[in-house]
């Protein structure tokens, strides 16, 4: 009879702008975005040339390996696991490339294909041990790290690998190769293009039905299993994504570093990747957090380096500040309650 009346209830369902903004900055994405903007602002104020578009693209280029690792780690963390083997995967893959190529351009793509296959195999083994043998992923990937590093050292003799990367191989990691003379932006490197493609693919994947099953499995494996989700295969696939992205990150990182490969190339990167993802407000233990925020976390972590250079702070202090930022950011997110899983249906934040 009468036209629908907008009741006060319906109005309240959509909170006003200020309230939404407040809520956004209490969420993981908001915190890390604010942090990134502050860090960038300080860098650009103290050195305006750092804010030029082409310089920013160059920074993005240098951040690509960490960004790719963070995307891979996101898939593993959202399903409730860890991947501590990614640093070792990078070391192993770089050593393989340098040894097999030995500075010869021909066969570069064959070697890259071989590396991607090896990455897939490592991911499948990690995933199968975690999902089928029920070994905690912390232990599985830690042992995988020991095995890969040990085997690589055994094979190459340790230190700096004999042999070198080919120029063709290094094209993917160096900033000067790519789409040249783009207006304002300078050269958009292959690495940046690869990152953009992978970021889009990852975003599509996490929004697909696979992604929803992944998040559900991370939130509550048992419940997801009872609901008919393939909890075993999604976990194995998550580890495969992480290992393959680590391989690609390794190709870019090794190419950008130098034509020789030092076996310390990947050490500690697994913790950097996990730190980046958690800085983005993704819940360790699975089931909550956004892919976009994980990438913002990686960028934030990367820009701490330039921030220190601009402010003239000694590099020795960097770990301490990084540690404090990490703890404070995660504690802030936990305080606002956004990182806590909701206990029951329909229970809203206060």
């Amino acid at each position: 009879m009468s036209t629908p009346v907008i009741t006060p209830d319906l109005v309240a369902a959509k909170p006003e702008f200020g309230r939404r903004l407040q809520r956004f900055f209490a969420s993981g994405t908001g915190i890390v975005l604010a942090l990134l903007i502050i860090i960038l602002a300080i860098i650009i104020i103290s050195n305006p040339s750092a804010g030029a578009p082409d310089t920013l693209v160059n920074s993005l280029h240098k951040a690509t390996p960490l960004l790719l690792l963070a995307i891979g780690q996101y898939f593993v963390i959202i399903v409730g696991e860890f991947d501590l083997s990614v640093g070792a995967i990078i070391t192993t893959q770089a050593a393989i490339a340098a040894t097999l190529l030995n500075k010869q351009d021909e066969g570069t793509y064959g070697v890259i294909a071989l590396m991607l296959v090896l990455g897939l195999v490592v991911g499948v083994v990690n995933g199968a041990i975690v999902a089928l043998l029920k070994v905690p992923s912390f232990i599985t990937t830690l042992a995988m790290m020991l095995i890969l590093i040990g085997a690589t050292n055994l094979w190459t003799g340790g230190g700096i690998v004999k042999g070198a990367l080919s120029d063709e191989f290094r094209k993917f990691g160096r900033p000067k190769f790519g789409i040249e003379n783009v207006p304002f932006l300078g050269t958009i490197s292959w690495a940046v293009l690869i990152f953009i493609v992978i970021a889009v693919l990852a975003a599509l994947l996490i929004r697909s039905s696979f992604g929803r099953v992944l998040v559900a499995t991370g939130d509550n494996t048992k419940a997801a299993g009872f609901a008919g989700a393939r909890v075993t295969s999604v976990r194995i696939i998550a580890f495969m994504v992480s290992a393959v992205l680590a391989t690609i990150a390794g190709i870019i990182l090794a190419g950008n570093t130098s034509s020789t490969v030092d076996l310390s190339i990947g050490s500690g990167l697994e913790f950097e990747a996990i730190t980046a993802v958690v800085l983005g407000g993704v819940l360790l233990g699975g089931g909550k957090g956004s892919l976009f925020a994980a990438m913002l976390g990686a960028l934030t972590l990367y820009f701490i380096g330039p921030l220190f250079r601009e402010l003239g702070i000694s590099p020795e202090l960097r770990p301490s500040v990084q540690g404090i930022i990490l703890i404070v950011a995660v504690a802030y997110a936990a305080r606002s309650g956004s990182l806590r899983r909701r206990k029951g249906p329909g229970k809203t934040q206060p």
């Binding site: 232990i139 095995i147 055994l154 020795e316 301490s320 995660v330 504690a331």
Partner: protein, 354 residues
């Protein structure tokens, strides 16, 4: 009811017993390997070397067991070991009269770090992995800025006394490790704190709803873990004669977690034992001796170690999934098992009622 008892009462070993058996088996294998090379595994020198090596990791791993039992984790222990060795060596500064002060200062610093870890994890509700990795980074920066790579001097008396004295083949440091292990075992099994820690590790929510002060329990576990790492730092200082910052690169954090898990403690908390951890540490040490006598390439050692850790934990995991590891309360035909409730069976089964 005939035949119903075949699996319920089947004799089963606890995980700690399995670890102990694996250790004994490994020692037998190592003895044979040594004998085949014309050497004696039980020679005083070999045993002393093996036990000293295991006592270092032992201190850290015993502490790590406490936090892992409470479903937490401490990845800052490597930095605590380094810092405590530096604090002890710089405070002692070569003076015999300041040994006590140095030990107290090192352990106090360690306890303070543990307290901070505990507070960050419980009050600020930061995930233990992140909290302790963050704390490790903070300590790394602090150590690099404050100290040189090697600093301070430990007086001869302390160095000899704690680092090199031994009773027969048993070094004082290992004896200290075993005493701390026994104390930890008693604390875990006989005290209220121990019971609370197991409860918190099993389920934090259930423990809190049962009236346990879960935060206080976890904070204490973290303080104990850091102090144990501090004792390892004292041993480093005693062995080297000075404080060493490089120790944090040795990987005590991940090694200690591996030793704890190898000892059969569940990474998810609530189940495990210090005895298992000590056996796990010994397994790693005996393995190292066996590698040495076989002249195994140092890099191959890591490969084998990694494989052994995965296999061991996979076996423990299977035991927990194994339906035989739980006592089933019902027989296959749906009746209650006699061994659990004899009086109930008597009342329910036809003809059994009086």
């Amino acid at each position: 009811m005939s035949g119903a008892d075949t699996f319920g009462t089947k004799f089963r070993l606890s995980t700690t017993q399995v670890v102990a058996l694996a250790l004994v088996a490994l020692i037998i294998v190592a003895t044979i390997l040594y004998a085949a090379r014309g050497q004696n595994f039980f020679s005083t020198n070999n045993l002393a070397d093996l036990l000293t090596r295991s006592s270092l990791l032992g201190f850290v791993a015993i502490g790590q067991t406490m936090v892992i039992l409470g479903r937490s984790l401490d990845l800052s222990v490597g930095y605590v070991v380094a810092l405590s060795s530096l604090v002890a060596a710089t405070v002692m500064n070569g003076l015999e009269g300041r040994v006590g002060l140095g030990i107290a200062a090192a352990l106090a610093v360690a306890a303070f770090i543990g307290l901070l870890n505990g507070l960050i994890i419980t009050i600020l509700r930061v995930n233990p992995f992140i909290a302790t990795v963050g704390m490790g980074l903070i300590l790394k920066g602090f150590i690099d800025i404050t100290y040189a790579a090697q600093e301070g001097k430990v007086p001869q008396g302390f160095s000899r006394g704690f680092g090199y004295t031994r009773i027969g083949p048993l070094p004082i440091s290992t004896l200290t490790m075993l005493i701390i292990g026994v104390i930890a075992m008693v604390v875990l099994t006989k005290t209220r704190f121990g019971a609370h820690l197991f409860a918190v590790g099993g389920s934090d929510d259930v423990a809190r709803l049962s009236g346990i002060r879960t935060n206080r329990t976890l904070i204490w576990a973290h303080v104990m873990c850091s102090v144990a790492a501090g004792v390892a730092g004292l041993l480093i200082a005693a062995r080297f004669g000075l404080g060493s910052a490089q120790v944090y690169n040795t990987g005590y954090d991940l090694d200690s977690v591996a030793a704890v898990v190898l000892g059969g403690t569940l990474l998810m908390g609530g189940r495990g034992s210090v005895g298992g951890t000590v056996a796990g540490v010994m397994i790693l040490a005996v393995l190292e001796s066996a590698f040495n006598v076989l002249d195994v390439n140092p890099f191959l050692k890591n490969v084998i170690r990694g494989a052994i850790i995965i296999v061991a934990v996979a076996i423990y995991a299977q035991r927990q999934i194994d339906p035989l590891s739980r006592r089933s309360r019902f027989t296959p035909d749906g009746r209650r098992r006699a061994t659990d409730f004899p009086e109930a069976v008597g009342a329910l089964s036809p003809g059994g009622a009086k």
